[in-house]
């Protein structure tokens, strides 16, 4: 156990010096888990190879003959590892995780959606419902055009947000590389954009689903 304590202060390690699996401290974040810097941009191949390496060490299959306490530790560590990998490999999930790690949970008041955005979403959803129940061909065609236009519009919004996120991510990383905290303005903008992602994702999913039914 002493090995674990020492490691906690320097680098995070799952194994102590005698090679025994240790409990993972609760405060260990996903970046520390992979010994990677807390940056927005991340080499996904590097992450993957670290993930595989850790998986091979932690997998419960290797602890079949170990005492129960060690078996449980391996299960817990593997679950945590999978969750960490899933979160960090997706750029959006990674951004949400990192922003929340540095500046607290995203909240409702982080982002006020642009005045028209919510109305546009409701209109698009109405078109989806109408289209699904529509039996008249001419009307269906006009609704289909509405849906295609809505899809294009929301996709444009989404790519605009992605581009803004990339830009803000680069500014974040530059600060981290310089050993400084990310500028407050960058953090606030990131929080605001990330707070809108679910609206756009949901409506696009719904519109796409209706369009797929049509084709």
């Amino acid at each position: 156990m002493s090995g674990c304590e020492a490691d906690k202060k320097t680098a995070f390690s799952i194994f102590d010096e005698s090679g025994e699996i240790c409990p993972i401290p609760a405060e260990t974040d996903y970046f520390a888990f992979f010994s990677m810097p807390r940056k927005m941009e991340l080499d996904e191949f590097d992450l993957e190879s670290r993930y595989f390496k850790l998986s091979r060490k932690l997998h419960p299959d290797f602890f079949m003959n170990a005492p129960a306490s060690k078996r449980i530790l391996s299960l817990e560590a593997s679950a945590r590892l999978n969750e960490a990998y899933k979160t960090l490999k997706d750029p959006i999930q990674r951004a949400v995780y990192l922003v929340e790690l540095e500046s607290g949970k995203l909240q409702e008041n982080d982002s006020t959606p642009p005045a028209d955005m919510l109305e546009e979403i409701l209109e698009a959803q109405e078109a989806v419902v109408d289209f699904k129940c529509c039996e008249e061909e001419e009307q269906a065609e006009s609704l289909l055009r509405n849906l295609e236009a809505a899809k294009e519009c929301f996709e444009a919004q989404r790519s605009g947000q992605r581009a803004a996120l990339k830009d803000l991510g680069e500014r974040w990383d530059r600060a981290v590389e310089a050993g400084e905290p990310p500028p407050a303005e960058v953090v606030q903008k990131l929080r605001s954009i990330l707070g809108l992602r679910n609206y756009i994702d949901n409506i696009l999913r719904s519109v796409q689903n209706a369009l797929e039914m049509a084709s």
Binding site: L106, E108, I121, Q125, Y199, D201
Partner: protein
């Protein structure tokens, strides 16, 4: 986890779906969203000269509990005065619909929508806004 019978009923037969004329001075409109799940809710009230809500409509893009919460809200709003409507609490919606803890935010969204609609009506009619339209449980 199963939805309660009341949620299913409102989901299958939503009350008062639709829109009122947003530009009408006697109509108050509230459009609110929940960033964590992406649900969107629009709730409108039409207020008589005596200050009584004579009609209420909603449109919701979200889960069954969000639809049921807003449907129930419109039922409750009709016949109430603006001041009485202000008193509707999300906890009453939770109780009536038997919402589980993970769906409480749907009722909060409905309360937010009510308050936003009432404040929109007040603003249109030269009255001061009341309270903070965001409330937490």
């Amino acid at each position: 986890m199963a939805y309660s019978d009341k949620v299913v009923d409102h989901y299958n037969n939503p009350r008062n779906v639709g829109s009122l004329d947003k530009k009408d001075g006697s109509v108050g409109t509230g459009v609110v969203g929940a960033p964590e799940c992406g649900d969107v809710m629009k709730l409108q009230v039409k207020v008589s000269e005596e200050g009584v809500i004579e009609d209420a409509k909603f449109k919701t893009f979200g889960c069954g509990s969000a639809i049921a919460s807003s449907s129930l809200a419109t039922e409750w709003l009709k016949g109430k005065t603006v001041d009485e409507a202000q008193e509707i609490k999300n906890t009453q919606i939770v109780e009536e619909l038997n919402l589980p803890p993970v769906k409480i935010h749907c009722s909060v969204l409905a309360e937010d929508a009510i308050k936003a609609a009432l404040n929109d009506y007040r603003e249109k009619n030269g009255q001061p806004a009341v309270g903070d339209s965001r409330s937490a449980v």
